[in-house]
């Protein structure tokens, strides 16, 4: 019984890899765009957010 549930847990976690990886990538992309993009226009639009979140700015 223990081995069965352990095997089940492993198979669930492998099926989770793609949705979890995609979620994390999407999140990192959004944070990177708002906080780390070197585009001048993006910097100016998110200026106060970058300072207030203590992202490296300028």
């Amino acid at each position: 019984m223990v081995t069965n549930s352990a095997a089940g847990a492993v198979s669930v976690s492998t099926s989770k890899i793609i949705p979890l990886g995609m979620s994390a990538l999407l999140g990192l992309f959004m944070v990177g765009f708002v906080g780390f993009s070197h585009l001048e226009v993006v910097h100016n639009a998110a200026h106060d957010t970058r300072h207030s979140l203590a992202f490296p700015c300028h």
Binding site: G21, G27, V31, E40, A45, S52, A54, P56
Partner: protein
């Protein structure tokens, strides 16, 4: 697919609510201080060490190399002060919050889930330590008009510190071996031994009193933001699990056995 959909839904709701809350807090705390600092920045000009002024074009020749170095294109678009600027700040806050929520939920799910709003709150506080406090030890929050090292190396140090801190905290909480605990401590401390890129001089026209208030305001608002983000994400993640292979009830039944 339903897992991805549920994570995105949870992240959007948690990010929207916590991002809007943060915008309200900022408009009473950090943003007025940023605007105040910009008056010194614009007045200080070249002496401030970096020009961020949107209107003052540098005198041709003399100060141009210094100013151009900070890659602020004088003609770049910027939101008009007032309502337009507020809207862009709010949008950026919400986008960043949703992004943070997506990453936090993905990591939490990979480690077995939040387990309710209290677990979410703990995750939120870990997020604050990872993204605000640890990078802030080396690169404190900056006001406009304050000198800083080149942007690229600072961003690299900031991201490396956040990754090391996240890994260190994760090892401390989710593993039980002494060796991994030692590795966790190394990961937590190493970025600060390496040290953040520092500016050649710390001279600035911005008053230290203004700066102290700004740093306090940044940490206070970020702590509340992360706590709320985590708690809402933990709560919603528990409530909305439609279509996922392992439903909450089966998980609870398994836990009860």
């Amino acid at each position: 697919m339903s897992l991805f959909r549920n994570i995105v839904f949870t992240a959007v709701v948690a990010g929207l609510l916590s991002g809007l809350l943060m915008t309200v807090m900022q408009s009473f705390s950090t943003v007025p201080l940023i605007l105040q600092a910009e008056t010194y920045e614009n007045a200080g000009g070249e002496e401030a060490g970096h020009s961020h002024s949107h209107d003052a074009a540098p005198a041709a020749g003399t100060a141009a190399p210094v100013v151009a170095d900070h890659h602020h294109d004088e003609e770049a678009w910027a939101p008009a002060d007032g309502f337009e600027r507020f809207i862009y700040t709010a949008s950026a806050d919400v986008l960043a919050a949703i992004g943070f929520a997506l990453v936090a939920i993905a990591i939490a799910e990979a480690l077995g889930g939040f387990g309710g709003w209290r677990g979410g709150l703990m995750f939120g506080i870990a997020g604050f330590l990872t993204v605000s406090l640890a990078p802030g030890l080396g690169l404190p929050p900056e006001l406009p008009g304050m000198p800083a090292a080149d942007l690229g190396p600072r961003q690299v140090w900031w991201i490396s510190t956040a990754i090391c801190t996240a890994a260190g905290l994760g090892l401390l909480v989710y593993t039980r071996s002494a060796l991994l605990a030692a590795l966790a401590i190394v990961l937590l401390v190493a970025p600060h031994l390496v040290g953040a890129p520092l500016p050649p001089t710390h001279e600035t026209a911005v008053p230290i009193e203004l700066y102290a208030r700004f740093v306090n305001a940044v940490y206070a608002t970020n702590l509340i933001f992360w706590a709320v983000l985590g708690a809402i994400a933990g709560l919603l993640r528990e409530k909305f699990r439609s279509g996922e292979q392992v439903s909450l009830t089966t998980e609870r039944e398994l836990a009860a056995r």
